[in-house]
Symmetry: C2
Subunit: 171 residues, 2 copies
Amino acid sequence: MAQPDPPLLLGVDPGLANTGWAVVDGRLQVVASGTIRTNPGPPVPRLVHLLAELRKVLATYPVQEAALEELFLGRNASSAIGVAQARGAVLAALGEAGLEVHEYKPNHVKSVITGYGMAGKTQMGRMLGLQLADLSGRDHHAVDAVAIAICHARTRRVTKATHGLAARPAP
Amino acid sequence: MAQPDPPLLLGVDPGLANTGWAVVDGRLQVVASGTIRTNPGPPVPRLVHLLAELRKVLATYPVQEAALEELFLGRNASSAIGVAQARGAVLAALGEAGLEVHEYKPNHVKSVITGYGMAGKTQMGRMLGLQLADLSGRDHHAVDAVAIAICHARTRRVTKATHGLAARPAP
């Protein structure tokens, strides 16, 4: 499969019940996005279904890099086990598929999208809607995945530009 | 590969740094056990290495069922994220390999091995050592995996015997 340059990037917002995903291209346009859902029940069939659907996304879009938010344990620590287990399965599958995986702190993602690290869901959605194509029809898992994908696209552009400058010979 | 009857059973004690595993047969003998280690660093290469080693175990021993302890969040919740992520990757890999996966509460495992649900590590090790072949040379991750595998072997024997009785026609 031909690799576009700059490459396609994948954002993932993993969960046991709902995993948002979004593919963005080098012009920061959303190529595709969606939410993988699993039915309530024991974790193993849910994780197997989640990975099967994620691998379909990887087979359809030749993404080279992926990004996820770092996981912090909130007050509801027992539901965090499910999220962390889904996240571990997703990280392993992305690694096995040969993708470079990046993790960002939630307030970095908010800063990059809105300019404010403490931004709420509404501000995030509004800023993404202003900057991007129509977000309607996407649930909040897919929108979160769009945010992390765009965050990675912008961050890597800055990082690559900075590395480029650093690599220049001194005058 | 010929499937032994009763089948080989796998016990797993997952972790990001150390994952214990043990294969037991129908006579509750330990066929093999070990600990998969990963080097400190970002989680993705560690999870990929863990699954590669786990798949070697599955390729070597035709296990049909696997058992793990249920995960509870202790005081150190942030280290629990790493364990939960490793556990999610392991559960998904076992499910994708077609294994039936069972989860047991820690106090059930302790009860089955020692007769006492609040048993400590030392009591567990002593009882396993009395009941089984020599445990020397195994670290505590592998010993924990032996315990969960033996617990599953005994529990499934009771369950199958009970189902057998229940399935008998009433006199």
